[in-house]
Symmetry: C2
């Protein structure tokens, strides 16, 4: 029994390690897509567009690991919640990888146009979204409640940046209709970054749920978290 238990803990640690690896890949893809936009580097954007195989492979592997852990070890209570959370986190990280692709696609449409402005706060949104993602995964692995709560707080900042970017770009479009196309792509990119922050928030909420057995996902039943400006 002791040996089976040790084996389970090893596999659970491996699962966390694979999720961290996946998080690292997702973050790197977000970083590269935003850098490609800032540096006007089409090759970097192309690398994001063609480079989703490793993260997709990990997505399938992590799902399999979760199902096998549940089937072979029939974990109880706290461990069970960790594995159920891992299933969800896996989905969130895969979507982050997809959003990096969306950013790269919008970036490739944007680059042939003259720059709208010095990209306003999009680089800052990119940094913040990456930090949130990293912190949420660290909180999961280290079981760090405070760090998970910091991610939730950061999401408000990210939303505020998105709203501000939306207003500035709308003004741009109305004042200089020649900027409509590229400004629209910047608005879409800011939305993708906001959604990356939402996925980091989901992960942080799962961590808080594991640690406190308290569900923070619908704190104010009558005011849903919005992703609109």
């Amino acid at each position: 029994m002791e040996r089976v238990f040790r084996h389970f803990q090893e596999e659970l640690d491996q699962l966390k390690e694979r999720l961290l690896a996946m998080g690292g890949l997702a973050e790197e893809r977000v970083r590269k897509s935003v850098r490609g936009l800032i540096d006007r580097d089409t090759a970097a954007l192309d690398a994001v567009l063609s480079g989703d195989v490793p993260i997709n492979d990990l997505h399938i592997e992590v799902d399999d690991r979760c199902v096998k852990l549940l089937a072979l070890h029939q974990p109880m209570a706290a461990d069970l919640r960790v594995i159920v959370a891992a299933v969800k986190i896996n989905t969130d990280l895969e979507r982050v990888g997809d959003l990096a692709v969306n950013i790269a696609e919008a970036g490739k449409r944007y680059l042939p146009h003259p720059p709208v402005k010095p990209l306003i706060d999009i680089p800052r949104m990119g940094e913040l979204a990456q930090t949130m993602l990293r912190d949420a995964l660290d909180a999961f692995v280290r079981r760090d409640m405070l760090l998970a709560q910091a991610v939730l707080a950061a999401d408000d900042t990210l939303d505020a940046l998105k709203t501000q970017i939306f207003r500035e770009l709308l003004t741009c479009m109305i004042q200089s209709p020649g900027t409509i196309e590229p400004a629209l792509d910047l608005i879409l990119i800011s939305r993708h970054l906001e959604r990356i922050g939402d996925h980091a928030t989901n992960v942080a909420e799962d961590v808080i749920f594991i640690l406190s057995a308290k569900d923070v996902r619908h704190p104010q039943a009558d005011s849903p978290r919005s992703n609109e400006p």
Copy 2:
């Protein structure tokens, strides 16, 4: 043992019934948000904005049911995959509810402006997204492979509609800069509807995975499914 097994099947059936109820609520909220936009009915949009309590309650309930089923019955093989899929489907349905809120918010910003056009294909996108959602859940409950595959095919139609709407509205904005603000909200609404279709697609992919033990989620490793125009 026989009795425990029957009890498990009953609870599994209840879980599916609750997921269907949640799907019904999510679909109704999407329907109401799109109808509110088409009929210029602010009260309907307000009802969507204030009515997310039941779906959020179900979200928590379904998660709890999944964890309890895993903990108490330690299901194996096929049943285990159904429950893991239920965890994911639950997340997808809750997000669909959030997207209905986003549509209602954009609708409320849109309505005070003069209509851009007769809303182009947005009503059709709304119908299609709702059908996809209903079919995906029916496929889950009835274990219907063909229906699940039909949902994947419908997603291509939805993406094509979104791309066409984007082009038409971009032309509108460039030709009549007075339409920039409302046209932008219609573009965002079409994105929200497309994401609802993506969630229905996720559900359909989970169904195919359960039925065939084959992973269809990353069929072409070098051409990720895109949600960009």
